[in-house]
Symmetry: C3
Subunit: 346 residues, 3 copies
Amino acid sequence: MAPTTQIPRNQWYVAAYGDEIGASLFARTICGEPVMFFRDAGGTVSALADRCVHRRFPLSKSNRDGDKIVCGYHGFTYDKTGACVAVPGQTRIPRTARVKPYPVHEQDSLVWIWIGDAEPSPVSSIPRAPWLAADGGYTTLRALAPLKARHSLLLDNLMDLSHETYLHGGYIGTPEVAETPITTEVDEEAGIIRVSRHMDDAECPPFYAKSTGIDGRITRWQDIEYFPPCLYTLHSRIAPAGVLPPASGPDSDAFHVEITYALTPETETSTHDFWMVSRDFGHGDAGMDSFFSQMQAEVVQQDVDALNLLEELIAADGEAYQELSINIDTGALAARRLIKKLNEAA
Amino acid sequence: MAPTTQIPRNQWYVAAYGDEIGASLFARTICGEPVMFFRDAGGTVSALADRCVHRRFPLSKSNRDGDKIVCGYHGFTYDKTGACVAVPGQTRIPRTARVKPYPVHEQDSLVWIWIGDAEPSPVSSIPRAPWLAADGGYTTLRALAPLKARHSLLLDNLMDLSHETYLHGGYIGTPEVAETPITTEVDEEAGIIRVSRHMDDAECPPFYAKSTGIDGRITRWQDIEYFPPCLYTLHSRIAPAGVLPPASGPDSDAFHVEITYALTPETETSTHDFWMVSRDFGHGDAGMDSFFSQMQAEVVQQDVDALNLLEELIAADGEAYQELSINIDTGALAARRLIKKLNEAA
Amino acid sequence: MAPTTQIPRNQWYVAAYGDEIGASLFARTICGEPVMFFRDAGGTVSALADRCVHRRFPLSKSNRDGDKIVCGYHGFTYDKTGACVAVPGQTRIPRTARVKPYPVHEQDSLVWIWIGDAEPSPVSSIPRAPWLAADGGYTTLRALAPLKARHSLLLDNLMDLSHETYLHGGYIGTPEVAETPITTEVDEEAGIIRVSRHMDDAECPPFYAKSTGIDGRITRWQDIEYFPPCLYTLHSRIAPAGVLPPASGPDSDAFHVEITYALTPETETSTHDFWMVSRDFGHGDAGMDSFFSQMQAEVVQQDVDALNLLEELIAADGEAYQELSINIDTGALAARRLIKKLNEAA
């Protein structure tokens, strides 16, 4: 039987940026499940189902007592593993009083959570993004955009960058993005999709002209790596036209920007759109920080506005619409296929 | 099988006032279908389905390139017949890339659209309202009221003017409207319903007292002609009491106001309530323009408030309610019957 | 077959405070039924179904003509028994033109209404709250909180006061409330549930410390009487620690506060939360009035916020949640059982 959800379970998803979670109780819905997070006295993130077993009150609206959580309605008290350790008016604690704990793993400044009832895949299977780590040698700006659209709409958007020309003209789009054909490669075994577009002689869009200082045409490479279902990375290489990476040694004549997205379903029709922009130049340049941060936030908002609109149209129009795909959609279609496969396996 | 919609298809509907549609792309939902309108270089109105064939993006949020439309998401480009003439990243255009064009006809300052898959009825079958034309000899004020209520509620309202006494007291209602019996005539073949109420000696309501300057009682005739499903006209004749139309020649001792409504379903439960008030006196009198415009807007708003409320009650109460009809409802019941007939034929 | 509603019919419910209903037409939805109330020339409250028989227009949006109601849409006119006495445009009144009248009984400053099609239970069966009467010897502050949560959530809340410790700390909650066991008594025949918690040596919460002036620990008794489905009373007795009621004669060394709630379903998922706080001390003390009024309003709002949140979670989470009950829930579970019995009998 086909699954009725479009969200693969038994997967690791990014739940939060590491610095979002501290002493305060923190609530976020992941793949339709309400989860409460906090960082314990030892600095480790815990995640529990955000519903008291007694009368459904959200634990995230409750109080911490050291590493224990005291429900804000009637005082049911839990330790960080979810076991109930105290109830009001009696000393006997019911045997079944326990809220579900979630496996959590923190790396590269991201907090990952395992959603699903199966045994978690080893944490070594979680994709890496070392440029996001504190010692990764990159300067990163980032934020979280609330998106009222389903995961697959954001995935469509990111896997086909030809939309940059139309939706993001004046930011990152130039005519060459839409015109240059892509190459798509699907590594079925590793579960990775790669989409590349190498523009050897292209106009430099404002986003890069202003930040790199390049005055003139550029070599612009866009190499996407997508690790379904959650992590998307766009390796962007910018150099003056004709400047190619040396046969050996560091590619220090080029500017590198790693654009990372974590696409985490909130519900079937909404998504946590984590975005991060990391650069290997201009470290410590507050003006450049501010420029990247603002430009990328505007680009993301253009996407969010478009995708929110599409989600509204899906709700309004119903199932009548039949889409039509062309070459630019190869990466997105491959991504959908892998997601479907994960979903059916779950 | 009974249709599940209350909206007859294979019909002409008023989509817009002519002057609403110019160079900008213009979106309006008609009978549940999202449509994008624009006026081409030659001045002719085109109407296309408002969804790109690629990924559903609304063409109305896109850009014009002369008489071509370039989708704002990935650049799919259409001519004014809906044929796709360019796509990004490749030169071959898929054979099925075409958005649906709608037949359109503009007359008497109104833009009509044919909704339905059947061959359009000849444009000569579209009802006329010559007083709305630029050279019709009338001065017209008009607007469009968004109505969050179904077509049949507005139709009920307009076909039974006895409500003027209660809902529009102090504007157009006087006791005689509710007290005077109506005559109803249904021309089944032509598909026209006529409802007349002739008050020979009636109080003059503020709406007419102030505009005509008549000081005292009046002869007030209300002659409705309804052309299902969309066009409603109320021929209103006001004269000092006892003044009747001459046996021959122009009725120049009376004041004539043509009150025209176009009732176009937006969805099953909302309606575009186009209203127009045309008079054959006081041409060029800006104060009178402003008076008519404001009074009619307030009257329409009283109806809109009442009908929006009824629509909310239908949603809240469900099907439990059983209405009770009396003589005043003859016209509305005939109108419902003709609409049902059109709907079943569609 | 199990009823699909959680609201027992064929019951008396509190519809309003007596002073809410005067000369103006007053609308309130009770158990999903829209009702229009008014006080006739003789001072008696009438209640009619709030829908005109003609086209569903709410009579509460209409006009009074003495003790008659004239529909604001087309002028159908009703007397206070719901009989139609005039219609527009004709003298014959249809035999079936009648809106449903509701039995009403006013006592102890409350207006009760009978919901259901069965013969009403005698008004002597309506529970009394004599401290609310004008001559009851108590000073009462009261209000109505709109609650977007189902009746059973409010009932759960009120039947288990251990939540005072957690949700109302700093107001009425102290550790002893959660710690002290309750006794529960169900009088099946009379249909009354009693839950008592007697704290012999307890901290005095701010609500009582400031109002009674007691400086030190207290004897605090909470005696709940619940008369399903609507009336809830909490008899609260506060005295300095060790002061018990005398064997005979008035208990004048203690402070008594009667906290009364009427829990009237508005719909399946919203409730009219009538709350009243009556005290037998500090009569005529405007400062104390204001203190009680404000403190209780804040306490009620804490409950409303929590219960509104739970209702939202029920809607969002669906049926997956399985609650877990302990000793403190004995009263609430008994109340649910009696409500279910009433519902099945209806």
